[in-house]
């Protein structure tokens, strides 16, 4: 344990001297100092591989923990849906409670054609309808492409909640202001992964820089046929799905 503290101290010292600066950024950026963060060098996106999601709900739990999302069943920054597509074309969807998958009599039966989980979150649209309608400009797109809400200036009119086609926004009952996924902005600006990505046991979620030529996200975008949710609305989501079923909305 002492070793870790010593390491940390010496690392900081070295970094301050500027010796390790180059190496630190070249290696894992986890230790990069926030003041050295340059938003113009990033454009964040997420890839979701449907075929890897096991519906464990760790992401949902981690998100609520990391971002102080109300611990009830009506406020989520991310959630997981179970789709069951039946022989006769019927589609049954339900929200998976974290840890509940498999614990109750599963809906799928002999009539089931295919069934799978779909993680959902704010799509961080490049053309965000929520930003367009906010009367006071309290929600906006940052330079690195994340949609944030200014909780100190949001007047709570809920127009953005109406404008979001994905149901990704909610009115935070504690602050009476609009709230949503920030891609864990406080983490990613320090080189950490969003909490949901960090805890996903199967790498169903892949986070990174869209413009980076070599990264897990770049690989994801190269290796898969991609789709976004509700493309006809021209919101240009930065959350892209691989193996997305046509029934998913």
């Amino acid at each position: 344990m002492e070793r870790r503290r010593f390491l940390k101290k010496s690392l900081t010292l070295l970094a301050e001297a500027g010796v390790l600066g180059g190496i630190a950024t070249a290696a894992k950026t986890a230790r990069a100092e926030p003041k050295g963060y340059d938003p113009s060098k990033h454009r964040y996106g997420m890839g979701i591989q449907i075929d890897k999601c096991i519906g464990c709900g760790k992401c949902v739990e981690a998100c609520k923990e990391e971002n102080n999302v109300p611990r009830d069943v009506a406020h989520f920054r991310t959630w997981v849906e179970r789709y069951v597509i039946e022989q006769d074309g019927g589609v049954v969807v339900e929200r998976v409670d974290p840890g509940s998958s498999g614990s109750h009599e599963p809906i799928p039966n002999e009539n089931t054609v295919r069934t799978f989980f779909v993680p959902k979150l704010c799509n961080q649209c490049d053309n965000p309808p929520c930003v367009q309608v906010c009367p006071v400009g309290a929600t906006f797109k940052t330079e690195d492409g994340v949609i944030l809400v200014d909780a100190d200036r949001c007047i709570g009119c809920r127009y953005c909640i109406q404008a979001c086609p994905y149901g990704a926004r909610y009115l935070n009952p504690l602050t009476d202001t609009a709230d949503k996924c920030t891609f864990c902005y406080h983490r990613i600006t320090k080189g950490l992964l969003p909490a949901c990505v960090e805890v996903c046991p199967t790498q169903a979620r892949i986070f990174g820089d869209i413009d980076s030529p070599a990264s897990p996200l770049a690989r994801f975008r190269r290796m898969n046929k991609l789709h976004v949710l509700k493309p006809s609305l021209n919101t240009e989501p930065k959350v892209q799905y691989a193996d997305l079923d046509g029934e998913v909305r």
């Binding site: 069943v73 367009q132 009367p135 006071v136 400009g137 007047i155 127009y159 109406q162 149901g167």
Partner: protein, 399 residues
């Protein structure tokens, strides 16, 4: 936190099918139904008034001033439901500090200010200017000061000045008609421009809002005219009443045609959302749309008015039937607003489930507050009528 979470479970509305979890709470409640309803009455009442000045419909002279005052009374209250519904009403000034130019809602302040200041107040001032001077001379004490201030200390009662007033009113009305269209068309645009919501997203929305506004405004002024005249123990001017009813008749037909066109268009295009919207209409909105809005709010009043025209009924019966018709129309238009605002939030954007709406009784956005907001304009109108009587000298206005 935990008790709150448990309380939530009971408060959550009944749903069928799948809804996104964040959709369990309805963002816009009853108050947002009241807002377009009130604004619609403003626009409608003003357009009735402009029929007199711009289109020279002489029969409507007795209700000219009443409709202007009605428009003003309702316009003064119209922003209240919006304000009370905000999560942070105390921050509403932010709209003026950093208005987001791409937001339809941010334009509210500007459209409202333009309509209130440039159109309505100005027209009322020019209409009452000469009377205010005369009244101030006949008054003592407080009212004398009030009238002096309201007339902006104007002293000119000459015939030329009156002629100028009339000219000014005509110009203001001509500017006012598109402004009234803008005011309520804009409210329709707030809903019509939400592409995420197929029940709202429609080019026709502003126009449908406009014509339903005209319907509701004429119906309201008709109602007020009948009630107030009876209270004052005067004779109702049947020529005026018949004329209003006739405009009302055409407005309802236009409104119905537009909504029917919207309906047919959706049905024929049959887009992705058609299944859930059909379910919405057949289940959740069957009573408020099918029965109240269309049957009671349109078909029955239209039937009544056709009946009156065909059968040439006598005066008393006509009055009674008109009275019933305008109340039904008022009910129908309120249902129209309900069906748009609440109806648009009763289906999930996943297009796979329906929600239910349970109005709260108390609270800032509950049922009681809604009643208060619906009564308030009438109280304001009473004060306005006391200060600026719309009927004391009908002969001087009719000149």
């Amino acid at each position: 936190m935990h008790t709150a979470a448990h309380a939530m479970l009971f408060l959550l509305p009944q749903t069928t099918g799948y809804i996104f979890p964040n959709e369990a709470e309805m963002p816009w409640s009853l108050l947002i139904v009241v807002y377009p309803y009130l604004t619609g009455l403003v626009a409608g009442a003003f357009i009735l008034a402009s029929l007199v000045k711009v289109f020279n419909v002489k029969e409507l002279q007795p209700v000219y001033r009443l409709s202007l005052l009605t428009a003003l009374a309702f316009l003064l209250i119209a922003p209240l439901p919006l304000l009370l519904h905000l999560g942070h009403p105390e921050r509403s000034y932010e709209i003026f500090l950093t208005p987001n130019l791409t937001s339809a809602m941010a334009m509210f302040g500007f459209v409202y200010a333009w309509y209130l200041m440039v159109v309505l107040l100005l027209e009322i001032w020019f209409t009452y200017r000469r009377e205010l001077i005369v009244w101030s001379q006949g008054e003592r004490t407080v009212m004398k000061v009030v009238y002096r201030v309201l007339s902006l200390f104007s002293v000119d009662t000459s015939e030329e000045s009156a002629a100028f007033d009339r000219k000014a009113i005509k110009v203001i009305t001509i500017v006012g008609i598109p402004s009234a269209f803008l005011l309520h068309g804009y409210v329709g645009f707030i809903f019509g421009s939400v592409k995420a919501n197929p029940w709202w997203s429609s080019v026709l929305m502003p126009i449908v809002f406009l014509f339903s506004a005209i319907v509701s405004g004429i119906a309201l002024v008709t109602f007020l005219y009948m009630v107030l005249t009876t209270l004052r123990r005067e004779r109702i001017n049947m020529a005026c009443l018949d004329k209003m009813a006739s405009f009302l008749f055409y407005a309802v037909i236009l409104d119905f045609s537009l909504e029917f066109l919207d309906f047919i268009h959706r049905l024929y295009e049959s887009e992705e959302s058609i299944k859930i919207l059909s379910e919405l209409v057949m289940n959740r909105l069957f009573f408020s749309l099918g029965v109240i809005q269309v049957l009671l709010g349109m078909f029955v009043p239209l039937g009544i008015m056709v009946l009156i025209r065909v059968l040439r009924l006598d005066e008393e019966l006509r009055k009674l039937l008109y009275f019933v018709a305008v109340i039904l129309i008022q009910l129908g238009i309120f249902a129209t607003r309900w069906n748009v605002v609440i109806g648009g939030q009763m289906f999930s954007k996943s297009f796979r489930g329906l929600m239910e709406y349970k109005a709260k009784i108390g609270g800032m956005d509950g049922f009681l507050m809604t009643l208060v907001l619906l009564v308030l304009p009438f109280i304001v109108l009473t004060v306005l009528i006391k200060v600026l009587p719309p009927w004391d000298r009908p002969e001087s206005v009719a000149r």
